[in-house]
């Protein structure tokens, strides 16, 4: 893929939750989130763009896992029409909504 040969950027990035869980996610999938995309943009000169590691102090592991799941769901369905909706447990809904709003997803 194009990402692997752009200045030696890793194909994968690591998302870290507030309680220390780490999720290694395909860069292209994670860039579905506008916030993460801006963090990782090589031109942005954020620390995240060099380390490929994003720490989210306000998102816990359970929610971040769901977010990572969404990234892959979205990546898998990126060119499909009539995509079945992803299942979201109602109890996670509000927290996930806050996270999604924060991540611009």
């Amino acid at each position: 893929m194009a990402t692997s040969n752009e200045g030696g950027l890793s194909k994968y990035v690591t998302l870290v939750s507030s309680d220390g869980f780490e999720f290694v996610v395909l860069r292209e999938a994670a860039c579905k989130s506008g916030a993460i995309k801006r963090m990782l943009d090589p031109k942005s000169s954020f620390a995240e763009s060099t380390t490929g590691r994003c720490t989210f102090e306000e998102i816990n592991g359970i929610v971040l896992e769901k977010v990572a799941e969404y990234f892959y769901y979205s990546y898998k369905n990126r060119n499909q029409e009539d995509v079945p909706d992803m299942d979201i447990p109602p109890e996670l809904c509000l927290e996930l909504l806050m996270a999604a709003d924060f991540l611009d997803t």
Binding site: N79, D85, C93, A100, D101
Partner: protein, 620 residues
């Protein structure tokens, strides 16, 4: 299978032979047909003979033959029962018999005739299949006759609707129902699924969710709306998300007194109810009780927001800065007067829709006295305001946004007065359904307005092309971002294509418009302006032109729009999201670039998307 239909020559035709005998009549009354009995006997005899011959021919012993075909005198054993109990050898034999019979059918003249009649390729493509169908048809009992069910073995009356079972025999109604339920539901669902899917794709397309998955925020909001009955509190969601939730709950008609509570928090300053049809007067009063610091109130379909609620509002210390009321047609003029007098001093925005018989000229007159801070005024779907009332708007010097949609016929002079008075301060101007205003209004806009970024003038049959051209030529106003001039066109039922007096937005006006505002324009609606010529479109969107801001264009019912124009627009507007072309029959087969949406292509396929960049092209 037992296909009904083809007129089989060997089917027992009813024989009409004069008066019936008493016995025949009696039997018929008990649903027994003498004719049928004879036919059955004949068939049995023929089968026996055939079997005998076959047995002799193939050298089988007579025992087998007797076993294979029932002897004519014996009561015919019910077919399914025999099949159920038959041994392997018997089954093999039966199969052999069947094959022979089918071979005979194939050779028969009647079969050849029927094949010719059907045409050899479509319905009965396979010769074997066709012969088998014919065989089973001759074996199958006729409607009205008794038969044993293939599955349960019970006797039942055969009807035209009797269903064939898995082995070719007929089924009783009960077993038919069971079998239908087993496979029928799947079959039915598959059928409706295709239609649902197509509609869903089109619906998503119109919503702009296309292609790929919905974003996570949308998914969460939808899930939350689905489970709103479990929610106790939205926590500290940002206002933008609260608004989206309010919208989706109303869309799903879930906004009721219980869910309203989720939106009422004492520290909020905004309450939006997009569909208040299920709320009572007390619920509206509750809004002011729970949220006393409310500044922005927006209610739609708020029928129950009536005098009682208004009285309560007047008794509170609530100081509304913006009020948007839709459908509150039970607040009388006295209450409106009191509201404007007592609460008007804080009011910055007032939007009222569908007030029916209330809110007229007197109230607008009062606005000038009591609402010195009013910046935004919208009076929409109003049945009471007249020219006189519109003239009073000229006395609102602070007004920046004006939107009127008045039902009573209005004329140009009051609009000109208003524009002469407050035109310089206006930032948006929307005059909908102004059937009779003339070019003097356009002239007043041209002369007075210098800060407008949104302009709407719709449903007019008087304004001329020249008038529009003059408006947009050498206009001191900076380029606009929103222009809606739909249905400004000449109407003549007899000669619809001619426009001798140059009425409506046509070629010159359109070119002047794009020349003036093209650089910043985001929304353009010239729906039904059908006298804009093809040359004009080609010139405006010619190679080399660029309209970087255009997001949405509506060119519906502009009859000169064709494939080439649409292609040129896609090229000239890099940020375009949607283009509407309803009723433009010149648009036939356009490839739509990825990420853009073309709505209203007049063919069954809808639009075709071409892949650009990294992904493959797809066709929907």
């Amino acid at each position: 299978m037992n296909p009904p239909g083809p007129p089989a020559a060997n089917r027992p035709s009813r024989q009409i032979r004069g008066p019936q005998s008493a016995l025949t009549d009696f039997l018929a009354s008990h649903n027994i047909s003498a004719n049928q009995i004879r036919q059955d006997a004949l068939a049995r005899r023929a089968a026996a003979v055939a079997a005998q011959q076959a047995a002799e021919g193939s050298g089988d012993n007579g025992d087998d033959a007797a076993d294979a075909a029932d002897s004519p005198s014996a009561e015919p054993e019910p077919l399914p029962a025999r099949r159920r109990n038959e041994s392997k050898a018997q089954s093999a034999k039966r199969k052999k018999e069947e094959e022979k019979a089918i071979a005979r059918i194939k050779a028969s003249k009647q079969f050849q005739r029927r094949r010719r009649q059907y045409g050899s390729d479509d319905e009965m493509s396979d010769e074997d299949e066709a012969a088998r169908a014919l065989f089973q048809e001759t074996m199958a009992p006729l409607p009205g006759q008794m038969e044993n069910c293939e599955i349960c073995g019970k006797r039942f009356t055969v009807t035209a609707y009797s269903r064939a079972g898995p082995d070719g025999g007929l089924l009783c109604p009960k077993c038919t129902k069971e079998l239908d339920q087993e496979e029928g539901s799947a079959r039915k669902r598959r059928k409706t699924n295709a239609g649902r899917q197509r509609r869903q794709v089109q619906s998503n397309l119109l919503d702009g969710i296309y292609p790929g998955a919905k974003d996570l925020v949308t998914l969460c909001v939808e899930t939350l709306a689905k489970n709103v009955d479990q929610a106790e509190d939205f926590g500290d969601l940002p206002p933008a998300l609260i608004d989206r939730l309010a919208a989706i709950l109303s869309k799903k008609r879930l906004l009721n007194p219980t869910t309203l509570d989720l939106f009422l928090k004492p520290d909020r300053d905004t309450v939006t109810v997009y569909d208040g049809a299920k709320l009572s007067s007390d619920d509206y009063i509750k809004i002011f009780q729970i949220v006393p610091k409310i500044k922005h109130l927006r209610l739609r379909n708020a029928v129950q927001f009536k005098n009682k609620v208004m009285d309560h509002l007047l008794d509170t210390t609530v100081e509304l800065e913006s009020l948007s009321l839709h459908g509150s047609n039970l607040i009388d003029d006295t209450r409106w007067d009191r509201f404007l007098t007592e609460k008007g001093s804080h009011l910055k925005a007032l939007k009222i829709y569908h007030t029916d018989g209330y809110f007229g000229d007197e109230q607008i007159k009062l606005l000038a006295k009591t609402c010195p801070n009013l910046q935004r005024l919208k009076i929409s779907h109003n049945q009471k305001v007249t020219d006189k009332g519109i003239a009073h708007i000229a006395n609102l010097p602070g007004l920046q946004h004006l939107s009127l949609e008045i039902y009573k016929p209005t004329s140009s002079p009051p609009y000109v007065d208003v524009l002469n008075s407050i035109g310089p301060g206006l930032r948006t101007l929307s005059l909908a359904t102004v059937y009779h205003i003339d070019d003097s209004v356009l002239k007043a806009i041209h002369e007075n307005c210098q800060n407008i970024f949104k302009l709407r003038i719709t449903d007019n049959e008087v304004l001329t092309d020249q008038g529009f051209a003059n408006l947009f030529t050498n206009w001191y106003n900076p380029p606009l971002t929103y222009i809606d001039l739909h249905k400004c066109r000449h109407i003549d039922a007899a000669v619809p294509r001619d426009n001798p007096n140059g009425i409506g937005l046509a070629s010159r006006g359109f070119e002047a418009l794009m020349a003036h505002s093209g650089s910043t324009l985001r929304h353009l609606n010239v729906h039904s302006c059908r006298h804009i010529s093809l040359e004009s479109f080609e010139k405006v969107f010619a190679p080399g032109t660029q309209y970087p801001e255009l997001r949405e264009i509506d060119l519906s019912f502009c009859q000169n729009v064709n494939d080439f124009v649409v292609g040129s627009i896609f090229r000239a507007c890099p940020n375009l999201k949607t283009l509407k072309v309803f009723g433009n029959f010149g648009v036939r087969d356009v490839r739509v670039p990825k990420g853009k949406i073309l709505i209203g292509v007049p063919n069954a396929l809808g639009m075709q998307i071409e892949g650009t960049g990294e992904d493959d092209g797809r066709v929907i």
